[in-house]
Symmetry: D3
């Protein structure tokens, strides 16, 4: 019974309800298929991280998006 | 000084303030008792995961609750 | 650039090198496809948890496997 | 179906198999009791962190233990 | 490409946007310097934990702050 | 009392004991300075992830290192 945790950016980049369903169904099936495990109780958690709390290369995603626009 | 992180479903299923206090006090005491450790600085964090971000068996908890009702 | 962490049981149940490659390639592609994100820097980490450190329903996986056999 | 992850120091301070069973059984029961949740699939994971990888107050636990002895 | 996750108390104690930028820039630089790693894709995530979800020594930070004031 | 967890690649890329001390001392000081928090009980954990369990861009770090060499 594997356990999966997925961090994505939130705010205006947050996944839609439909995308969350696809992520959870897809990752569960994939992990079950690869490992040959029963998935009936597999847990997948999606963490939505606010864009100013998510840093890449030393800058927040919020800053990076702004720079890209300007 | 162990560290504990507890993921629970949030939204309408989120624990009450009273339940959070009980969880934190109870888990701290239990871990301290079992391991014979000083608990004065033990950290316990509760993560409330929105029901559509928490997947079990390939479906979000939000979907599972709806199916149960219908 | 999402980040994914996958906990699986280790010891004699640990994934093979081939399964790890499939997991990492598959999850990366799936998350990229669903969210429409560039995956060139997406991180996927696999945690192998010893069977006596992984509890399900209040028992370690080590105990559960033994009971099943007997 | 809550999910719990417990970090403890490993190496010579690692919990015994018996302590791990007690931790997993105890935390599962406690969380189930406080939240009124079915625990049959609750997952509890214990992470054993090597003493030189676990820092408290800016020093590794390995260093702290040495200082205490001297 | 290391990955860092930082838990801090949220609510009225949450870091300002400026502090988040400093945390992300500072931790990224420090980890890169110490390990001699390229940081252009290093991820740092800040988790803001509500004060009643963050327990220290068996009490929520919310309770501890109240006791201090009285 | 913030809590920090750092994932780095292990195996032949694992940090030396000296680097771990520097990481733990440095991150603790930096987080304390930026947030103006007492650091005497701040916890920093370093997770060493085996190179075949750490995926970047859909490939394990083990594979990436091999490709670079050839």
């Amino acid at each position: 019974m594997p356990f999966v945790r997925i961090c994505v950016t939130g705010d205006e980049e947050r996944p839609t309800s439909e995308q969350k369903k696809e992520l959870i169904a897809g990752v569960t099936k994939l992990v079950g298929d690869v490992l040959g495990k029963n998935t009936s109780n597999m847990v997948v958690i999606i963490d939505e991280i606010p864009m100013e709390n998510y840093g890449i290369g030393g800058k927040t995603v919020r800053e990076r998006r702004k720079e890209k626009q300007s």
